[in-house]
Structures are given as C-alpha cells and as structure tokens.
C-alpha cells in the first residue's frame, strides 16, 4: 500500500471517534426535525421513523413565532455590527498608522476588554439598562453587543490594516490629495475585504449571544432566536421537540456554513496573531 494512503487511513481511524461525536448532534437535529410528532416518544427509542414530515418546518414557523424572533436577531446583529464597525474602523486605522501617546495602554485596554465576559457583569449591565429605561428594548442589546465586540473588531481590523502598504497613501499625498481623500479613495477600497470578514464575525457573535438577550428581554415578542428556542424547552412540561429541532436547524445551519467557510480568516485577526 502507498505510504500516504496508509497514513490517511490511520489518521482517519484516529479521528473517527471525535468525528462521530461531533456529527452526532447534527444527525439528532435533522432526524428529529422531520419526524412525525407521534414518533418522538417511542419505546424503545430508535433512530428510524415512518416518513419525512417537511411540513414540521412550516408548522413550527407559525406556532413558535419564528419569523419575529428571526427579525429580532437580524435587527440586533446587524445594528450592533454596524455600530461596532463605525467606531472600530477609525480606531483600527489610528492603531495601524499612527504613533500617539498612550498607544501601549490603549492596546492593553483592548486586550483586557476582549476578555471581559458579559456574564460577570450581567447584573451591573441589567441595572444600567434599568437606569437608562432600556430593559425590554432590543437597542439595549445593540449597545452592549457593540461595546463587548469592539475590542475584537478593532484588533482584527488593525491586523489587516497593517498589511495594506502605506506607500499608496503617501504617493497620493505627494500628488496633493488630502489625508481624508486618500483615506476614502485609496485606503478604504483596499480594506473592504477585511471589513467584510470582521463584520461577519461580529454578526455571528450577536446572532449567537444568549446571556444578555435572556436577561434584558422580558417579553416574548422581542426574543432573539437563542432565547426563543430556549424558551420552548425550559420549564415546560411538554416540549414540542420536533419544532425545537426544526428551529435550531433553521437558526444554525446557514450561519454554520458561513462560519466554516470564513473560519481561516478568524485566526489571523485574533489575539494569537500577536503571539506569532
């Protein structure tokens, strides 16, 4: 046998237990989502079922108010990403291009806030939103997600910005362009891919966030997807598992595909860029 083929077989054999455990929940999710309701609780439990009920998805959409939660998640994720980017782009530009007093301290501040987790501050954040009169208001999530994401977006953007050569901007200055024009005409177009990737990760963070959404949002009309799906499960005597699984499929699979596709870009911008 060819050495590479033999090596491949050994490697796959070593990886297979983990691969099975990783794929198992996905299989559970799909198989449950399309199962007829009366085949959820059978004894003995089994994988097989009589027919594919694609109608579960449509039924779930109506019964669990999925559309509204989807809209709320989109609203919060898009606006928090926009806010974070508007504030991060100039900051990242300054970090990658200028020397200024307190730069070292600012970098340390960013690294520290990047590690700050909302759960430790959740009670204080809730009290802040009470003081601002923003409890049960999706904008409270927009503000907090943007603030907690910003360290990540600035860090990621500045690591990309540093790879864009300064010569181009300097050449434009010599030709008489102002800093502002060179920024808009030359730098920003080159930085679009970096900003797009950063925006997508910021969006996914907002999309997946649970603790703050669970805390700040009290009325079910304003639930985001993770909280809405959680509320179908928690504290209920009877859980409509086929609906819950259909919901998780719709809420996770599109995002998972985008994430898997762009994941390699994440590594570059993350903190470990700094250790290399």
């Amino acid at each position: 046998m060819q050495p590479k083929l033999k090596k491949s077989l050994i490697y796959w054999a070593m990886l297979s237990p983990l691969v099975v455990v990783i794929l198992f929940p996905f299989a559970v999710m799909f198989v449950t989502a399309v199962r007829p309701r009366d085949e959820l609780f059978v004894y003995p439990p089994r994988w097989g079922f009589s027919e594919f009920r694609w109608g579960n998805f449509a039924e779930m959409w109506v019964k669990t108010n999925f559309g509204e939660a989807l809209f709320n998640s989109l609203y919060v994720s898009v606006l928090s990403t926009a806010l974070a980017l508007v504030l991060s782009i100039p900051a990242a530009y300054a970090l990658s291009r200028y020397r200024f007093p307190g730069k070292g301290a600012y970098r340390t501040f960013l690294l520290m806030t990047q590690m700050m987790s909302p759960i430790v501050l959740v009670l204080g954040l809730f009290r802040l939103m009470v003081a601002l009169g923003m409890v049960n208001n999706l904008n409270s999530l927009v503000l907090t997600y943007a603030a907690f994401n910003m360290a990540f977006t600035i860090w990621m953007l500045q690591s990309y910005f540093s790879t864009i050569p300064r010569d181009l901007e300097e050449a434009a200055w010599i030709d008489g362009a102002s800093h502002f024009t060179s920024l808009v005409r030359i730098f920003l177009p080159l930085a679009v891919p970096a900003m797009a990737v950063t925006a997508i990760f910021s969006f996914i963070n907002g999309w997946n966030e649970f603790v703050l959404a669970l805390t700040m949002i009290r009325s079910s009309d304003d639930f985001t997807l993770p909280v809405q799906i959680y509320s179908q499960v928690a504290g209920r005597y009877q859980v409509e598992w086929h609906h819950v699984m259909a919901g998780t499929v719709l809420a996770t699979v599109p995002v998972a595909i985008v994430f898997s596709w762009l994941q390699k870009y994440l590594i570059r911008g993350m903190a470990l860029g700094a250790v290399k």
Binding site: K4, L15, L18, I22, V122, G124
Partner: protein, 298 residues
C-alpha cells in the same frame, strides 16, 4: 508617520473608547457600589452595610459547592481539551487524504452557538426517547434507557464532556497556528540523528509549542470559567443545585431569588478572578510580541 502624530489619532479612538468604558466601566462601578449596600429585591439600595454581603457569601455553603464545581469544571474541561486538541492539531497539520474535510468537521462545533448545542444535547440525552439511548441500545451496550440528566453527578460529567467537545475547535486552531510556525529543519536534523517520532514530539514539538500551549490554557480558562449556556440550558444548575457553577449560581441569585447584594458580591469576586487571568494573558501576549520583535519579524 509625519505630522499626524498627536491629537488626530486620539480623536479617532475616543468615540469607541467612550462606549466601551461606559458599557463595561459603569457596571463594574455599580456592582462595587451595590455589593457594599443592603439591596431590596427590586434593586433599591438601602444603605451602606460594609462587607456584610461578602460575609454572607462566604457563609453560604452553596457558594462553596459552586466554587468547588467551578474549579472541577474549569480544570477538567481545559485539560481534557488540551489533551485531545494537541494530537488532533498534529494530525491536521500533516498531509493526508481528506484533510480539508477533516478540518471542516473538527471545526464544526465552533460554528454553532453554545445555546443551540446545549438544546440539541438536552434532547439527545432525553431519558426516555433520546437518541443517545437509542444508539447505545442499538449497539447492545445497554438494555434500558438511562436518565442522563436526572442525577447531578452524571449530568455534570456529561456537561464536562460537552464542554470539552465545544472547546476543541478553538484550541486546535491555536495549535495549528503554532505548528505551522515550527522550523522544519530541526525535524530533518533530528531524523539524521536517528530520532524517533516520539523523541521529536518530546524534544522539539513540545518545547517549541510551549508559548501556544500557555496561551491556549489561559484563554480556555477564561472562556470555560465564564461559560453559562451549556449548564444553564441542559440542567439550569439542577437537580437540587447539584450542577451549579459560580456563573449559574450568580445568575439564579440575581434574577430568580432577587438577592442582589449577594449576587453583586459574587460578580465582583468573579470579576477579580477574571482580571487576574486577563492580566496573565496580556503579559503572555506582550512577551510574545517582544520575543518576535527581538527576532526581527514583528
């Protein structure tokens, strides 16, 4: 870069800085203030009581149980994750058929929110009809379904295993970054000297990977110690507080039992621990930057 040093870059930084300081700074100060006061269950501050809230926390056996479980949770999840991720990264760093597919699969848990993962597992582990029971019974490993989440010890063990599973992708990614930066010539030289692969692992890979392992430990400790969704969604710290870690206990105190003073005190304690690990992280990162600057490739 010439005349622009000074005020202009500061003006570019300040708006974001203000938002971050407000949203992160205010809660810290508010928690510090609240933790020193008597608080009604509706959040009204009723006057300064010194360290009474902290004394109450330290006298609470549930706090100590949760703390103990937090340490077990953090240490086992982080160590388990490292022990699995390093060999996985070494495999994925080598060339073999289907490597691209293997990478995508290993990274999948990272792409799904913890909440959704926990919801799916909660169903998969269902004591009556869960498909884990179905699988194990089909394989003939057991005759009766098991109630995986009904008993604290078993539920907590299962939660730890899921904690490991979801931490593997991130950790593997850090290790892959490290492995790709290792110098190939040391391996070639050691082959000439007749070193086995195990020798290479112990004497070349492991020492050179040390900075990456350190970073992986610190970052994972920070993430795992703070992680609420898995335990909250699967068991809500139950049955009978048997799977509570500090974050779930804190959340219950604050938003279920209305014990805001106590909850603030625990928040502040956790904030201190988090700060400690963050400082270690910043020190590691800064040292890494200095090292690579010294090598001239910063």
């Amino acid at each position: 870069m010439k005349s622009l040093n000074g005020f202009k870059p500061l003006a570019m930084i300040v708006p974001g800085l203000l938002l971050a300081m407000f949203i992160i700074g205010y809660p810290v100060l508010d928690l510090a203030n609240t933790s020193l006061q008597e608080v009604s269950r509706f959040g009204q501050l009723r006057g300064f009581t010194g360290l009474d809230n902290f004394a109450e926390v330290f006298a609470d056996p549930l706090f100590w149980d949760s703390l103990e479980r937090t340490v077990i949770w953090t240490v086992t999840v982080v160590l388990g994750t490292l022990a699995i991720s390093l060999p996985i990264a070494i495999i994925l760093n080598d060339d073999f058929y289907g490597r691209g597919l293997a990478r995508v699969i290993i990274m999948l848990p990272w792409a799904i929110s913890l909440t959704m993962t926990a919801v799916v597992w909660r169903w998969a582990l269902n004591g009556r009809a869960g498909l884990l029971n179905a699988t194990l019974m089909d394989m003939g490993l057991m005759a009766e379904p098991i109630e995986w989440l009904a008993e604290a010890q078993l539920a907590f063990t299962v939660e730890i295993l899921i904690g490991i599973l979801v931490s593997i992708p991130f950790t593997t990614t850090i290790f892959l970054g490290g492995l790709s930066s290792l110098p190939q010539d040391s391996y070639e030289a050691s082959m000439v000297d007749g070193a086995t692969r195990w020798d290479q692992f112990r004497h070349i890979t492991l020492p050179l990977m040390k900075p990456f392992i350190n970073i992986a430990i610190v970052l994972n400790v920070i993430y795992v110690f703070n992680s609420l969704p898995i335990i909250w969604v699967m068991t809500e710290g139950g049955p009978a507080n048997g799977t509570d870690i500090l974050v779930t206990y804190l959340y219950k105190l604050a938003f279920r039992f209305g014990q805001l003073g106590k909850a603030s005190a625990i928040s502040l304690i956790m904030f201190g621990v988090l700060l400690l690990f963050t400082i270690i992280y910043v020190a590691l990162v800064t040292r890494g930057e200095k090292d690579s600057a010294a090598k001239g490739d910063a």
